[in-house]
Subunit: 206 residues, 2 copies
């Protein structure tokens, strides 16, 4: 039997994607499941639903709750968290770079560094200088990667990946796809991994 795998759809602007990006690698390795990293953009997905901003901004009670929930969950997972000065940040450049990282094997550490910059260090991840810093700190050739990230074929690839997200019925991030099953939200990571292994879903902790 081939090793099981899950598709991990995420967006760098997304708060709950932060939690999952930080923990999916370890969780999947423990579960012996491969992760196919699929960065995409929520903007077009939200526009298709009629939202021109994050629903956490459009619906203030949801937004207030989300920030508190995020702080509690970060604490639960032992992750640092600082309320970002701006939300949502534009994750376009980071997603273009991550697309290259997914092909070249460094998407996990790059994505973790970008997410930490956004949600633990309050840095402006839409700025090329910030992304270049992050790449350099990972000992990756920043100039070369940024150039390829912004070249037409890679821009098109991200656009196509985002179109695919809409086609697949995604409406938020993070999302997981396993054998045609869609799981939405950081809360469903464990269920998605169990599904990939062909197991019954794990019981709730209680």
């Amino acid at each position: 039997m081939p090793r099981p795998s899950i598709e991990f759809w995420f967006e760098f602007a997304s708060t709950y994607s932060y939690l999952t990006v930080m923990r999916i690698g370890d969780a999947a390795r423990r579960a012996e499941v491969d992760v196919v990293w699929r960065p995409f953009l929520l903007g077009p997905v939200f526009l298709a639903l009629g939202w021109n901003d994050s629903p956490f901004n459009i619906y203030p009670p949801k937004g207030r709750y989300m920030w508190r929930d995020l702080a509690r969950l970060a604490d639960k997972y032992g992750l640092p968290f600082r309320l970002p000065g701006r939300f949502p940040r534009n994750g376009l450049l980071a997603a273009r770079v991550a697309l290259i990282g997914a092909r070249e094997g460094w998407v996990e550490r790059f994505s973790q560094a970008v997410m930490a910059a956004n949600f633990a260090e309050d840095r402006e991840i839409s700025e090329p200088a910030v992304i270049a810093d992050i790449l350099a700190a990972l000992a990756l050739p920043a100039d070369d990667i940024l150039q390829r990230a912004q070249a037409a074929p890679n821009k098109l690839a991200l656009r196509e990946q985002t179109d695919r997200a809409v086609e697949l019925g995604l409406f938020g991030a993070p999302s997981f796809r396993v054998d045609g099953e869609l799981f939405w939200g950081n809360d469903r990571l464990e269920d998605a991994l169990a599904w990939a292994r062909g197991e019954r879903l794990p019981p709730a902790v209680g």
Copy 2:
């Protein structure tokens, strides 16, 4: 120290409230936490957010996902589930009755029976005859309870409880309140119970 408790805010029309109504009693008894049952109506809460229907109907991709997620979760919890012929059903009468049940100690078994009628038996819970059947099956005085449920003071009490939900920042159901902390969704039941006990939040199953 007094025994810890949580407020459980739920709506009979709500799919994820179904899951929690069926399992909160046992989970809370195991955790040695008391549950204060708070039936309310989502309609006014959603109207305050600009929605005149369930967001699962307004946003079809969210709705399609929710029904599949619900079926998977029902299976995970060992609960029966049948796609209801109508969604959302009007939970007004059931909520009025549950308000009396919360005072008189039979809210849990009544709520479980109504939720099973809606989401496992596809019965029309907005009909007084269905609610009367459910009360009678629980050996409760149906006529007397329905009369008190529809009397002015009880109608007002439900209206006030729903107003309170909006004031507290609730935007969906089920929700839990513990010492001023809000937790939203069936997925947060375990965290809410842990919070009530003053424990760190339980780790995710992995």
